[in-house]
Symmetry: C2
């Protein structure tokens, strides 16, 4: 049986070394190389044409989402396994949309990772249980995040609420009347199911509804 050609993408040297150290002991795996950024990964993937890529998400020079999308655009048969520490909605779903094949957490054991590589080569996906939970709940529409019902304008107002602005300040920022702001705020409160602007602000902050995010 053909060896599985594997590539590693991670900006942490010690993580790359750790994975490499046990991939090299696997007879069924051919270790192709490693990249320390998303952009580097795209270049290397063009040359190496790997079967499976272990991909981190947060990296300085080109993140894992974009890299996943680009690599699949020219090398669609590649199976990309996300291997990261995070499993919040803002990581999991964009990664899946980008075309990720499996999603593992860095808490996984060496055995789990190698097993996932072999399964990926056969077309089977492996999803960490914590990530699987999120995916299940996502497909229960009645339980999805309440702020997905918000209109774009309401979303903008909620963002302002999350910054602690008063109605007056919001009206100035968005160039609308205070009465209009009040209407939006009232609608937001009822849609989010919270009692007042303070709870709405907390909601915004805890769900990462912010101007800029790192």
């Amino acid at each position: 049986m053909q060896k599985v050609k594997v590539m590693i993408v991670d900006d942490h040297e010690m993580v790359r070394l750790g994975i490499k150290s046990y991939l090299l002991t696997e007879d069924g795996i051919e270790f192709l190389g490693e990249a320390k950024s998303g952009n580097e990964a795209v270049q290397l993937a063009k040359i190496y044409k790997p079967d499976v890529i272990l991909m981190d998400l947060l990296m300085d020079d080109g993140n894992g989402f974009d890299a996943t999308e680009k690599i699949l655009s020219f090398h669609g048969s590649c199976k990309i396994i996300i291997l990261t520490s995070y499993y919040d909605d803002e990581k999991v779903f964009p990664a899946i949309e980008a075309g990720a094949h499996s999603y593992l957490l860095k808490t996984a054991s060496a055995e789990e990772v190698t097993s996932a590589i072999y399964k990926a080569a056969k077309g089977e996906a492996v999803i960490a249980s914590k990530v699987a939970d999120k995916m299940m709940t996502r497909f229960r529409p009645q339980e999805r995040k309440p702020h997905e019902d918000l209109t774009t304008r309401e979303f903008e107002v909620l963002t302002c609420l999350g910054e602690g602005m008063t109605n007056q300040e919001i009206s100035e920022v968005l160039y609308i009347g205070i009465k209009t702001v009040k209407t939006h705020v009232s609608n937001i409160l009822s849609k989010l199911g919270v009692a007042d602007r303070t709870q709405a602000a907390i909601y915004a902050n805890r769900n990462g509804i912010l101007y800029k995010k790192e």
Copy 2:
């Protein structure tokens, strides 16, 4: 010259493997063993008496803070190097208080880690630049976090504010009058330098002032 006796504590197997893979190639280092939790680390440290410990902070069975404190209580000459992905205030300062000797981030290269081990053995501390920044600002009293001026009761009230409670609800939770709550809230607002309870709630959430975390 005597070899430096090193121990690893991390709950991620692949991180342990990664570190081990290059520690074993270092002639000046004697690799003693590894632990995957804080409590396990304490037990192993009693047996191995390491010179240096590479310690992760967030682990399931006994965190790195407590483990650091306990190990130093019976083996004070040990130098403990924190090696983690996080560098927020809630990690850095408790770790230093616990007696950590150095603080590295997992973005560090293999060379930086080995270098830090040798320096630690000689008594020199290594602090990651991002962490050093935080420490510098901490020692500028006029710039320290405003919520450190809060009294314990005010801190409790702020915690409630961070949960979005009304004055009425806070008074019921803390078994005090609404007027008293109002007094505390007013004092909190002026001490934090914010305009209203909403901004105070945002402050609490962004600075990790919560009942329980994670």
